[in-house]
Amino acid sequence: MIKIEGLTILFDSFKIENLNVQIEEEEFHFLLGPTGSGKTLILESIMGLRQPRRARILLSDREVQKLPPEQREISYVPQDLALFPHLTVRENILFGIKARNLDLKLHENDIGSLVEVMRIGHLLERYPANLSGGEKKRVALLRALAPKPKLLLLDEPLSGLDPAIKADIQHLLKTLHSSFRTTTLCVTHDFEEAYFLADGITICIDGKVEQVGKRDEVFLKPKSRKVAQFLGARNLYKAKVVRREESFQRVMLRVNGLQLSVPMGLCQGKFEMGTEVDLFVRPEEVMIIRQGKPVKDSLRQNIFEGEILDIIDRGRYHNIDFQTTEGKILFEISIPNYAFRNLNISAGEKIKVALREESLWVMP
C-alpha cells in the first residue's frame, strides 16, 4: 500500500491542501484533474524534488518524506521524457542500475524482457535525437522501470503523440502493467486515458480531492456535478424530488416538466421531497425503441416520446440530439455504428426512447 497523507503545497499563489491518495500494491492509479490543477507539483513533492509544506508519504510502511529523491525508489517519467541526450539508448536504460550500484547480472533478464516487450532491441546503440516520438516514450518508460522502482510516476504519458502512436503506447502501458505489476501513479487531465488504463482513480479539482474510487465507480457514479462535468458527462440536469415511493424503492424526479422514475439505489444519498438534485443520464445507455418490437419490463419505467433534432457522425459511433415532446428536454444519445444502421432513422423523425436504469445517476 502506498499512502500520501495530508500533502500540503503552497507555491506562489498556488495551493494544495491536505491531499490524500492511497494506492494499492500493484495498482494502476490515476490522479485526474484539469490542466493547471498542480499535478506536476504533486508529483515533484512525492518524488522529493520539492519540499511540501506538510506531507507523510508511505511506501509499504516505509516513511520516505524525509529522504532525498535518490533513496525513495520512486521512478519518474516526465511529460517531456528528459532522455539523456548525451547517452545512447542502452546507457539511458542502464542509468538507474549504475546510479544505484546494482548488480547488472541480477537485472539482465528483466531488462531483456522489457526490451522485448517495448520492441526497442534494434535501437540500443542510437542516441535519443535519432528516435521517433513513440520510440522515445518507450525508452523513457523502460529507463524508469529498469531499476524496479517501488512506485512509478507518470506525468501525462500520452500527451503530444499522434493518435496511432498514442493507441500503441496505451496498449503497451496496459501490457507492461499486467506483466510487471509495478505500482503506478499517473497524473493526467485526459479522462479517456484513465478510463482505458486505471484500476483506481483520485479526482482532484482546484487542489482538493473530489472523489476516490475504482474506475467504474468514479465514471458511472460521480459524486458531484463538478466531477461529472470534468469527466465529460453530457446530459446533466437540475432536477427536483417530487415524490418518494417507499414501497417500490423509487424516487420520482421532475426535470423541467418531464417526470422520471429512479431507483433509490441509484441515488447518492437519501433525498427528501423537494430536494434539488443533479441528474446524470449516460448517453450510451439510452435506448431507441424500434417500432413493433416488444419493450422489456425493465425499460418500461422511463419511456419518452420526442423528435430527433440532429445526427452527428463521430466516426466510431453516432451522436443523436433528441428532444422530448413533454418538457422539451434535450438528450444526447450515443450509439455504435452498427446499431445506428439497423435503426434506419433520420433527423426530424419522431421516436421513442427508453432510459435504462443503468443510465441514471442522481447526485446531491
Binding site: E44, S75, Y76, P78, D80, F84, A99
Partner: protein, 258 residues
C-alpha cells in the same frame, strides 16, 4: 531594397573598420628593431606572465564561478537578484577604479593583515592575478549561468529519481550536457583576462620583468616610443584573440554577448 542595403552597408563598414585597423599594423612590420623586439627577453617575459596569470585567474574564476552559476541558475534564494546584479560590478566599473579599490582595500586593517600574514599583492605577480580574477569572475559566472540555463533541470530530476545524488546528477548529466557552453565561457573569460590592462596596472604596476603583462608592455613601449615592440606585442595579442575565437567555434557554441 534601400532598407536591406543600409543594414548590410553598416555591417560591412564595421568589418572594414576593424580590418583596416589590423592591416595598418603591417605597415611597420620589418622595421629595424622589429625582429629584435620579437626575441627580446622582456617580450618573452610578458608573454609568459600573461599566459600564466590569465590561466591562473581563469582557474580561480571557474572554481568559484561554476558553483555560483549553478546556484543562480537552479535555486531560488533570498537576495538572488542582488547577487546577480553584483556580478556586473566589474563590467560597469572602470578597470582603473577596480584596481584602485584594491589599493584602498589593502590599506585597510584587514587588507594589511592579508598582505603581512598571507600573500603580498600590491605591485607583485599575485596582484596581476587578483586584478584579472576580479575583472573576469563576474563575467565567467554570468556566461556559465547562461550555459546551465539552457539545460533543463528535468534531466537532473530524472537522474535523481533513478538513484543519483545531487552531486552525481550534476557531473553525470548537467556537466556533460552543458560542457560545450561552459568551455566557450572559460575560453572567453581567459581571453578577457589576457587583455586586461586597467586594473592590473593600477594594482600591480608596470614593472618590467616583474608585473609587465602584454597589454602593459604595449602601453610602456608606446609611451617610450618603441613602436616596433608595441606592434610585435599587438600582433601576438591579435593572434591569441583569433585563436580564442577559433577555439570557441570548435566548441560549436554560438555565443551571444548579453
Amino acid at each position: 531594397m534601400g532598407f536591406r542595403y543600409t543594414m548590410l552597408g553598416a555591417a560591412f563598414c564595421i568589418f572594414l573598420f576593424y580590418l583596416g585597423l589590423i592591416l595598418s599594423l603591417f605597415y611597420f612590420i620589418g622595421g629595424k628593431g622589429f625582429w629584435e623586439a620579437f626575441t627580446q627577453s622582456s617580450t618573452l617575459f610578458s608573454i609568459r606572465l600573461s599566459l600564466v596569470a590569465a590561466t591562473t585567474a581563469t582557474f580561480f574564476a571557474v572554481m568559484i564561478g561554476l558553483p555560483s552559476a549553478y546556484a543562480l541558475s537552479r535555486f531560488e534564494f533570498p537576495g538572488k537578484r542582488i547577487v546577480d546584479t553584483f556580478l556586473e560590478i566589474p563590467i560597469i566599473m572602470s578597470p582603473v577604479a577596480l584596481g584602485a579599490s584594491f589599493l584602498v582595500f589593502f590599506n585597510t586593517p584587514v587588507g594589511e593583515l592579508i598582505q603581512n600574514k598571507g600573500i603580498f599583492f600590491v605591485f607583485e605577480i599575485p596582484g596581476v592575478i587578483l586584478a584579472q580574477f576580479a575583472t573576469i569572475a563576474g563575467l565567467a559566472t554570468r556566461l556559465m549561468k547562461a550555459s546551465l540555463d539552457e539545460i533543463s533541470p528535468r534531466y537532473e530530476s530524472v537522474a535523481r529519481s533513478l538513484g543519483s545524488s545531487s552531486w552525481q546528477a550534476f557531473y553525470r548529466v548537467t556537466l556533460p550536457l552543458a560542457f560545450k557552453g561552459l568551455l566557450a565561457s572559460v575560453i572567453l573569460s581567459w581571453a578577457k583576462a589576457v587583455g586586461e590592462f586597467g586594473a592590473t596596472v593600477t594594482l600591480a604596476g608596470a614593472m618590467p620583468g616583474k608585473t609587465e603583462t602584454m597589454p602593459i608592455a604595449i602601453f610602456t613601449a608606446i609611451a617610450s616610443a618603441n613602436i616596433d615592440k608595441a606592434i610585435v606585442l599587438i600582433l601576438i595579442l591579435v593572434v591569441f584573440g583569433l585563436l580564442t575565437l577559433y577555439s570557441i567555434r570548435l566548441t560549436g557554441k554560438r555565443y551571444r554577448y548579453d
